[in-house]
């Protein structure tokens, strides 16, 4: 099991206020077996230390991949928080919640409760990709925030909205990035979530993508 954790902060938070962007997609893996490998490969290719430019390129490539896989995404969730008082908390909350569900990074082994005997069914259809950013509230975040403002309530879970959001992520200015994180669950090359898994407690915030 691999863990590279949250990317180290390249630029510490300055006096600017921060904003949060979070995206989570549940992608049907069974359609194309190579999906997980492609995501893992992209992430694995990322160096430990990155310049802002390299980080932009990395997320641009990830975004392009997600755009390509978007037709296979069945559930999702996204949020943009422009309240500087809660943005950092929101980022940390997302990280903590995802992290708490992930495996022990020291041992690299599976958690005790993650084995097929405990599961309702053993189908491994879905993988979950999460992108999180804590950004200074400068131009690129403002632009993304304007996009979020422009989304009609009825279109929040539309596939085109997710597509537009990911397009916005391609344009993030990483010189203003305070923290960022990417997670793919499950983290091994063979496992996956079943339809039943996605309906267990803890995933109820996810919305079908139309």
């Amino acid at each position: 099991m691999k863990f590279k954790g949250i990317f180290k902060t390249l630029f510490g938070p300055d006096e600017e206020e921060s904003g949060f962007v979070g995206l989570q997609l549940v992608i049907l893996n069974s359609v194309e077996d190579s999906i997980r490998e492609r995501i893992h490969s992209a992430i694995a290719a990322m160096p430990e230390e990155q310049t802002a430019g390299q980080k932009w390129k990395f997320y641009k490539d990830i975004s392009d991949l997600l755009l390509e896989l978007l037709p296979f995404a069945e559930y999702g969730y996204w949020d943009v928080v422009d309240d500087p008082k809660t943005a950092e908390t929101e980022f940390n909350q997302w990280v903590d919640d995802i992290d708490s569900s992930s495996i022990d990074q020291e041992t690299g082994g599976a958690t005790e409760d993650w084995n097929d005997t405990d599961r309702i069914d053993t189908d491994k259809y879905y993988i979950v990709v999460s992108l999180l950013f804590l950004l200074q509230q400068k131009n690129s975040f403002k632009k993304l925030n304007e996009f979020a403002d422009s989304v009609d309530e009825s279109a929040v879970n539309d596939r085109i909205t997710y597509s537009n959001l990911i397009q916005q992520l391609r344009q993030l200015d990483f010189t203003t990035c305070i923290s960022d994180a990417i997670f793919v669950m499950p983290g091994n090359d063979t496992d996956g979530f079943s339809w039943s898994d996605m309906r267990t407690e803890g995933w109820d915030y996810l919305k079908p993508i139309f």
């Binding site: 099991m1 691999k2 863990f3 989570q24 310049t51 995802i98 993650w114 994180a181 793919v184 669950m185």
Partner: protein, 537 residues
């Protein structure tokens, strides 16, 4: 300065221009001038250009802590983009000064701060696509400042049923005085100071706008006229009641109908209007209809409210049920695309204020039995009930028509003819059941139902206001019973696109953005806690 570029000018990079550091060709890149310093101009690139940036360019700029989305050029490297057809000679001037992110932003802020928006600016940024600044402002505040039809200059409001005569049949020469803001305010100003702070004359004040005033006429469609007659049925009940003063009546019907019922009660009640918005040609709330209805009934109200009476009057709050829309889950319905957000919410008196005024019950007049209280007053109604103030629903639909011969005493010219009147339950006898269904009212005249009398209704609607999640709940800032509750984010506000060059408003959009983001904050701290699984990052 040897050029005419100014802030907002759309420009295009001339053919052959290269970034000196990366050698990346920037020919044809387009954007707008955001700052000018002598012979150099800062260009903010537009979306089309940004999307086509070469990776090497963006990475280089970011690695040098520069904003890749803007660039300092000498003016000779640029050509105006709007004219577009200007010859694009290869620039011989290839020096350019890359801009550092920090420097660029600081200057942009200095520039935007220089526009004349101080005092009501909530946020401001620069649109990438247009020569505009974008601000978020209070809707009525903006209209007062820039005109009732701001952003839609020249457009007119469309009245559903404009009339040349008002309710009393008076011609324009006699009703036009009610198109004066001060006169209309006076007509609808409550006679007493009871609950004065809950009164709003904002709608009537909009007639101070001459171009709006010129468009306004009395208006009442068939629904409004019918509702007025139903209001007369309510009036009869208040006349028959011994104790109208202990019951607060809250009329919550579509604005023009709310005015109609309020007008019908003019001589038996002290009516408090709560219409706290202005009309707009593209208004989300059809406030112009409420205003036109107010003009239609103004001469009648003016006459009736000043009649001498020894009978105690009821206190009536008139609300516009169209003041906003929300879904069953309590989320506000966003303003329709292109509409002007003139929504608003109302506050109601606190329990202590009601008790101090001797009021022990609230009668809530709704369109029908399925129309429960609106989200903005749910908290007040629930509190009333919890604190011993009974709240009863009175659907106006329960006032049904009946044909009656006109009595000589009421209209000698029509004696013997049949008129359509509206009574609770559809008949004068049925109206007696009202006092059994609504025991907070005590009848003067009748203590028992005559044998043979029937009512279509067996009881008042089963209605118990219950606290529920709304966009307004738990937002009270005044502490007591919800007075002073704040509006949800963006509610009743508009984002204003203002021309940089002319300063005029050129468009707007809704600022509403409360909990409609995906998931709506319902994660409950259990994000992603499915069992096990790995992760990869």
């Amino acid at each position: 300065m040897d050029h005419n570029y100014s802030v907002g000018t759309p420009v295009k990079v001339k053919a052959g221009f290269h970034d000196k550091e990366t050698e990346i060709e920037m020919s044809g890149w387009t954007g707008r001038v955001s700052e000018v310093e002598g012979n150099q101009v800062l260009v903010e690139f537009d979306n089309e250009t940004i999307e086509e940036f070469p990776d090497e360019y963006v990475m280089h700029q970011m690695d040098n802590e520069r904003d890749s989305n803007s660039y300092w050029f000498y003016y000779q490297a640029l050509t105006p983009f709007a004219s577009g057809k200007a010859s694009e000679k290869t620039s011989s001037f290839t020096e350019a000064k890359p801009v550092s992110r920090r420097k660029a932003l600081g200057k942009v802020l200095a520039w935007t701060g220089g526009t004349a928006l101080a005092g009501y600016l909530l946020y401001q940024c620069v649109s990438d696509d247009d020569d505009v600044t974008v601000t978020e402002e209070d809707s009525v505040g903006l209209q007062k400042k820039e005109g009732w039809d701001t952003g839609a200059d020249g457009m007119k409001v469309a009245l559903a049923a404009p009339m040349s005569l008002d309710y009393l049949g008076l011609p324009e020469t006699q009703w036009k005085k009610y198109k004066e803001a001060d006169n209309l305010k006076k007509v609808y100003t409550p006679a007493t100071d009871n609950f004065k702070k809950y009164s709003s004359n904002s709608l009537f004040e909009s007639l101070g706008q001459k171009t709006l005033q010129a468009q306004m006429k009395p208006s009442a469609n068939i629904d409004t006229k019918t509702t007025f007659k139903k209001g007369l049925g309510v009036r009869q009940i208040l006349l028959d009641a011994q104790n109208p003063e202990v019951n607060l009546v809250v009329i919550d019907l579509p604005g023009q109908q709310s005015v109609a019922v309020a007008a019908a009660l003019a001589d038996v009640a002290d009516v408090i209007p709560t219409f706290n918005n202005w009309p707009h040609p593209l208004g989300e709330v059809p406030a112009h209809e409420t205003l036109a209805s107010s003009i239609y009934y103004a001469s009648y109200v003016d006459r009736e409210k000043n009649k001498k009476t020894t009978k105690k009057k009821a206190t009536v709050l008139a609300l516009d049920r169209n003041r906003f829309q929300s879904a069953k889950d309590g989320k506000l319905t966003p303003v329709k695309e292109g509409n002007f957000d003139n929504r608003y919410n109302v506050d109601l008196p606190t329990v202590d204020e009601l008790k101090a005024a001797g009021i022990t019950n609230v009668v809530y007049i709704t369109p029908s039995e399925t129309d429960i209280e609106k989200d903005d007053i749910n908290e007040e109604f629930a509190t009333y009930r919890e604190k011993g103030i009974e709240v009863a629903m009175l659907p106006i639909s329960r006032f049904e028509e009946t044909k009656e011969q006109v009595a000589a005493t009421s209209d000698p010219k029509r004696t013997g003819q049949y008129a359509t009147n509206y009574y609770y339950g559809g008949s004068p006898l049925g109206a007696m059941f009202f006092f059994y269904h609504y025991p907070m009212y005590r009848s003067f005249n009748r203590t028992s139902i005559p044998s043979g009398a029937n009512s279509r209704f067996s009881r008042a609607p089963a209605y118990t206001p219950t606290r529920r999640p709304t966009s307004f709940a738990s937002r009270s800032v005044g502490g007591k019973g919800g007075f002073g509750k704040s509006r949800p984010t963006g509610f009743g506000k508009v984002t204003v696109n203002r021309s940089m060059s002319t300063g005029k408003t050129v468009g707007f959009g809704s600022s509403f953005r409360s909990s409609y983001r995906s998931g709506g904050g319902s994660r409950s701290g259990s994000f992603g806690r499915s069992r096990g699984g790995g992760f990869f990052s």
